[in-house]
Structures are given as structure tokens and as C-alpha cells.
Symmetry: C2
Subunit: 278 residues, 2 copies
């Protein structure tokens, strides 16, 4: 199934990459952008990421991808509740979006909540990359009253874009992503506070990779950490306990506890590598 009209709302890094990927893989006949920032809009047009820029979602849209910040998604979904298009999003935190959508007077049926687990420390359409989603995981957290056909259409779209789709509840998603994505960002942000100009030139490849995510967009990430705050704080507290245990083991030369943590870390790293999902 090829989409006739694909609308991308928000042609930044993710929206631009979605448009570029859909174009490269022939998933849509026409790709239309909605982008309030004139610089981003002009860039997206000039690069052929989109065929045109419009102000409102056209009536004959089949699939509308909301690539706006998470806290703006629900508003767009409610506005499009009576539209014929299937509406998807790419927000990193799902429960707050689903909860906000469920406050609607009449249940929304055309929205399929999605989260492609991919990103980059770049931002804006200049970072758009048709391969950004290749091999990445996409989580779908369907609304209870969601339309099964629209969900199937959405799964097919993501699969044809080159991703692996998993379905789970918004709460499960948010708890898991707190650990696999939000906590690493939190730790990398906090870690960078310790880095000073005196460390210049004393860093190696480990530092470079460990801190890559510290360069992520601060405003975007502050919103994500706030939106998923309960799970993020819980994970951070549990991490703090593990760290205290490791520090105490170093201090007391308790190699039973210390080495056990390091070996456990190395084994888990090997197994996350082996499953081929990273």
C-alpha cells in the first residue's frame, strides 16, 4: 500500500528524516509539510524533502505524521479527531499524550500513538537523514478504542520504512524508555558538569561515545525528562543505589561486590549486542 498524500507536521530532524525516508522508499505519492519556521520550511522545499508547504492538513490526506514536540501532540490529535486521515506521532513519552487525548468528549479513533527509537544529537531539517530509521525499533501504544485497520496501516508504513514494530501499553513504554533512553541522557548531562577546560586533550574514545548524547537539544530533553518524570526519577534513584554500592565496594576494597557489578555490566552489554538490536 502506497500512501497518496502524506502530511508531515513539523519538518525538523525527525519530520525531515521521515519525509526523506518515505520519499527514498517510495512510500508516498506526495509529501506535504506543515512548518511554521520559514527557514526550515524553505530548506525542506529546496532539498525536496517535501513537495509543498501548507498551513492546514488538506482534506485528502491519508496519513498525517505529527513530528512536533511531545507536549503539542494531543492538541493536534484533538484538532484532527474528525479528519479522514490516520494520525500518528513520534513522541518519546506516550502516557501523557494518550491521557490528554482520552480527555476528548467523543473517543478519538483515528490516532495511532508511535515512538520510533531513533534520533541524533543534531536538530532541524539540515540534519534530516533518509536512513535515520533504518533498523530502529518503533513502539506503537494503541488507544483502547483505536481502529485496527489504521493500526495495521501504521505498522505497515513503519515496516516499509525499515523499522521493527513492537506493540505495548503507554505505561510499559514509558517505564522501559526511562531506563534505555532517558536515564542515559540524564547521567550524561549531569556528568558533563564535572568536565572543565583542564581536561582538554585528556579524553579518549570512551569519553567521546559516553558523552555523545550530552550534546542533545536541551529544550527538547528538558521536556522529555519532565513528561516522564515519575519513571525517570524512579530509575535515577535505583541507579543511585547501584552507584553507592559500587563506590562503597571501591572504598572498602570489596572485590566480591565490585567485580560482580563490573562482570554483570560486561555480560549484559555482550547480550544486548548479541541480540542484534543495537
Amino acid at each position: 500500500m502506497t500512501v497518496r498524500n502524506l502530511v508531515v507536521v513539523g519538518v525538523g530532524l525527525i519530520g525531515g528524516s521521515l519525509a526523506a525516508g518515505a520519499r527514498a522508499k517510495g512510500l508516498a505519492e506526495r509529501i506535504i509539510g506543515i512548518e511554521p519556521n520559514p527557514q526550515s520550511a524553505n530548506y525542506a522545499l529546496a532539498q525536496g524533502l517535501v513537495d509543498e508547504i501548507v498551513a492546514e492538513v488538506p482534506g485528502d490526506t491519508d496519513l498525517c505524521a505529527l513530528c512536533v514536540p511531545s507536549d503539542l501532540v494531543a492538541e493536534w490529535v484533538l484538532k484532527l479527531a474528525d479528519h479522514a486521515a490516520t494520525v500518528i506521532d513520534v513522541g518519546s513519552v506516550k502516557a501523557p499524550i494518550v491521557e490528554a487525548v482520552q480527555t476528548a468528549a467523543s473517543p478519538v479513533t483515528n490516532f495511532v500513538p508511535c515512538h520510533p527509537i531513533s534520533g541524533s544529537e543534531k536538530s532541524g531539517p539540515t540534519g534530516a537523514d533518509a536512513q535515520l530509521f533504518d533498523g530502529c525499533a518503533v513502539v506503537i501504544t494503541p488507544l483502547p478504542q483505536g481502529d485496527g485497520q489504521r493500526q495495521a496501516q501504521t505498522e505497515e508504513f513503519w515496516q516499509r520504512l525499515g523499522t521493527r514494530v513492537q506493540v505495548m501499553s503507554p505505561a510499559e513504554h514509558d517505564r522501559a524508555l526511562a531506563v534505555t533512553s532517558h536515564l542515559p541522557h540524564l547521567l550524561a548531562f549531569a556528568f558533563m558538569q564535572r568536565v572543565t577546560p583542564s581536561h582538554t586533550g585528556l579524553t579518549g574514545g570512551g569519553f567521546r561515545d559516553f558523552t555523545r548524547i550530552a550534546g542533545a537539544d536541551p529544550e527538547l530533553w528538558w521536556r522529555i525528562l519532565r513528561l516522564n518524570k515519575d519513571s525517570v526519577i524512579e530509575s535515577a534513584r535505583q541507579f543511585g543505589d547501584d552507584l553507592q554500592q559500587l563506590i562503597a565496594a571501591i572504598e572498602n576494597n570489596d572485590s566480591t561486590v565490585g567485580l560482580a557489578q563490573l562482570r554483570n555490566a560486561a555480560e549484559k552489554k555482550t547480550s544486548t549486542k548479541k541480540n542484534g538490536h543495537e
Copy 2:
């Protein structure tokens, strides 16, 4: 200046890479290995990393690179104190090595303590890579009574191997590396304790890069963390304070404090990238 006989003690990842790099760049006429593990020794010979494997450092050795675990370095240095060769090491923690060497009855003058800030999550000579040191920083922490000519010879060797050399005190080195290398490892090890099989397939590129160092050799890293424990624990405690501040900001929706940390992290990441040293 080309070294006639280069001896590499410990032909593992680092020793094997040093041998391979020296060979590739024509830095030594003959490269001789000392390696108690017969499997590693045979591999190093078969791959041509070394020309021969011997049991003792030959009398006509010019440069002897101790690529053994940090806690074995001082013993080797003291054994070679009267040897004509210049002796260097590659240990990640310098003060304990220098302190142990300084306990000698007559001051050691042929040892130049070194730390190439490079590594890999691989281990053993099968991970040896002639390019491992390309562009990396090497810190030299000279002994007060060290021989200036031997230090100059050592600097030239590292420079010709493709590295940038910095000279500082052992204490300065250990404090800086606690932040730029040992703390990131500590945090990655502790972080992995939170990862469970339920997270399989829910990880992206951020997770992959952030946790790469968690796969490092547990025994080696337990030794490093223990050897530099004062600086490591101090850095970890200061990190803990920053993390607590960030968690509190998320909890209280204090975007002044929270966003300031995230922006500070992003700016520092940009500047460590810009200086071209990562």
C-alpha cells in the same frame, strides 16, 4: 631515530597494538615480545606482531615498553633499574606506580612513566590494531630524577607513533583521568545494573554509544578503579551532587536549574568536540 631493539612486555591489546603500530611506522628494527600466556604469544608470533618471544629483556634492548597491568609495572621497573634500556609503561593510573618506584634504595633514572589515552572494549592480542594510537593523547609524568634524554627519546617515539604528548605530574594526571575516563566507566557499569531482558529491542544509538565502555574488561577496570580510588570516589561524589540537583529540578519543575544544567552540558560537549581532541 629508529629503535634497534624494542621489547614489548605483555603482548595483549595495548602491547600488541604498540608493536603493530611501531612495525607499521618503521619505528624499530626488531620487535621482541615477552608474554607468559602461550596462546597470546603464539598469536603474536603468527601475526608478525613480534619477531620473537623471549623470557627475559635482552641486554641490547633500547626501549622496553611495559604493557602489563598497572599493579605489576613497579616490580618490572625495579627489576630493570640497572638495565641500559629506557623503560616506559602504559598504566592508566600514574601516582601509585611512581610512588612504588620511588621506594627503591637508589633512585631509578631509566624509567619514563607514560599513559596513552586510548583503548578498546576488546582485549588480548586478537584486538591489536596498528592504528589504535593514531591521534590519541599520551601523558608523560616524569620522575623528578628522570633522565632528560630518555624523556626526549620517549616523546619522539610516541609522536612518531602518531600521538600528541602532554607532560604533567602523576597527581594531576590521576585527578584528570578520574573525570575523563574512570568516572564514565563507573557510571556505565552502574547503569547496566538497571538493564533487564524486558528492555531488549527498546534501545537506540544513544544507548549503544553510552554503554560501549560497560563492555570493558572487568578485572582490568576493577584494578584501575581501586588504584585511583581517592580521585574516583571524589569525582563520583561530586557527580552525585549534580545528579541530585538535576533530579530535584525535574521533580519540582525548576526549569531555571534544570535547563541550565542541560545547556551547560550541551555547550561543553560542543567545545570538547571543537577543540578537535575527541
